[in-house]
Symmetry: C2
Subunit: 268 residues, 2 copies
């Protein structure tokens, strides 16, 4: 138990009778339930890498003991973390840090589906890396990644093909510091989702993302790479992916062919 943990728990109730529900500092009038504080503490540990993706976090009883709260309170905290896909519960086994590897759906963020057939009846996508280099961030990229214009970023371009048909042309932009040393070989060779490779090789876990979608026409170069005519309408999908803390960690600009695939979205 690191000393930072002790500091962090000081604001919590230290027995079952007198509760300290409000945050310790008098400057924060905001009420925060205990389970939320517990959730934040666990979140901080996840962020700090106390448990790696795929590993089990301590059992509910252990966490309850550590934070001096009841199991039910820890349970509610973990319930929310599970709802946020940060953690996965497995009855009889434990609670595990979510990972983009070994996920029941192989591509958690890819919403492109073949028009006929199931999820990945096409098998895995073939990746062709066209480019991977270190460059200075253009203004728009810098803004999206919360960097200063001119900061170093890794930029990669690749084509994903399904059943031999080039279907997705993507440009990836990654902040230079955490992704220092990224190579085309890495992008090409890694088996499994690219985000899984980011976890393993760079310790960066993507937690959520936002996509902005438009219909566009490709320029001649893009058309050639996707083997379509410049008059073929394509889906432009601009994605910003975030780690913990809502820190943007990737800007991805994709062009999707939708002649035999479609972008699927479930609205609740």
């Amino acid at each position: 138990m690191p000393p930072s943990d002790t500091t962090a728990t000081e604001n919590l109730a230290d027995n079952g009778t007198d509760k300290a529900l409000s945050a310790g500092a008098a400057s924060t009038p905001a009420f925060s339930p205990l389970y939320q504080q517990i959730k934040d503490l666990i979140l901080r540990s996840l962020q700090a890498g106390e448990w790696k993706p795929g590993e089990a976090i301590p059992s509910e009883m252990e966490l309850a003991a550590r934070f001096r709260v009841s199991q039910g309170t820890v349970r509610k905290a973990i319930d929310e973390l599970a709802a946020d896909n940060l953690v996965v519960r497995r009855q009889g086994k434990g609670t595990f840090v979510a990972t983009h590897s070994e996920q029941h759906v192989q591509y958690r963020f890819l919403r492109l589906m073949p028009d006929t057939g199931d999820l990945d009846s096409e098998g895995p996508a073939q990746r062709t890396i066209l480019e991977c280099r270190r460059v200075r961030a253009p203004a728009d990229v810098a803004r999206a990644l919360a960097l200063r214009p001119g900061d170093a970023v890794m930029q990669a371009r690749r084509v994903l093909s399904f059943s031999g048909v080039p279907t997705i042309l993507e440009d990836l932009w990654l902040p230079g510091l955490p992704f220092k040393g990224l190579t085309a070989t890495q992008l090409a060779q890694y088996q499994g989702p690219t985000y899984a490779m980011f976890e393993v090789d760079f310790g960066v876990r993507m937690v959520r993302a936002v996509e902005n979608i438009r219909a566009v026409l490709p320029d001649p170069a893009q058309a050639q790479l996707l083997q379509v005519t410049p008059a073929t309408p394509l889906l432009s999908v601009e994605r910003v992916a975030f780690t913990y803390n809502d820190a943007p960690m990737e800007l991805r600009r994709g062009l999707y062919r939708t002649d035999s695939h479609h972008y699927r979205n479930d609205l609740n």
Copy 2:
């Protein structure tokens, strides 16, 4: 309390000691926790219209008494209904049947956002109804709506404009029986979301939807209605909306201009 309610509760635990967690019939080996059974019962009441959209459902204590379970079990059932957006909890007031009227976000299912500015800084969309008539369902429409080809359906076509700019061209297909009597006037005059009108005038509440998105070029007629050239790429958004029971109740084919708007999607 209708007599059907008594029948429905017979399978539940009738005191705190001996639980009857599994479904009553021996033919169902599936284990179902009590709170799930409660959830299903409440769901059935919602479906049956025991409480109308916007109305309060009974308090947790009342429901606990009615079903002979603890408040905590009812709470967990309602929590899931709230997570599914079927019900809205308001502390100090009660739990209310969700409705497309008076919703904090006015267009729950419309993901098109202006490139600049906030949600509805543009004000409400102007609706132009081009068509509204009773027709026989083509094969593809019938399939989407779980009808037989040739069954009667209502078909409507409209243009939505933002700040005077025609932006969305939509074709709506609705099953003829529940939507008998739908008129263009109704579609044009109703203040608020169309789905709110469906609740009020037809008792049909849309609960979830699925959208399939592609990039397409408009045919000449479509281009003219949206005031774009036939070479302008557009988003094709095909939506199927469902009521309770996952019964499809609407097929909507939309063409979205994305020159000053974009389709936004949050990935978790």
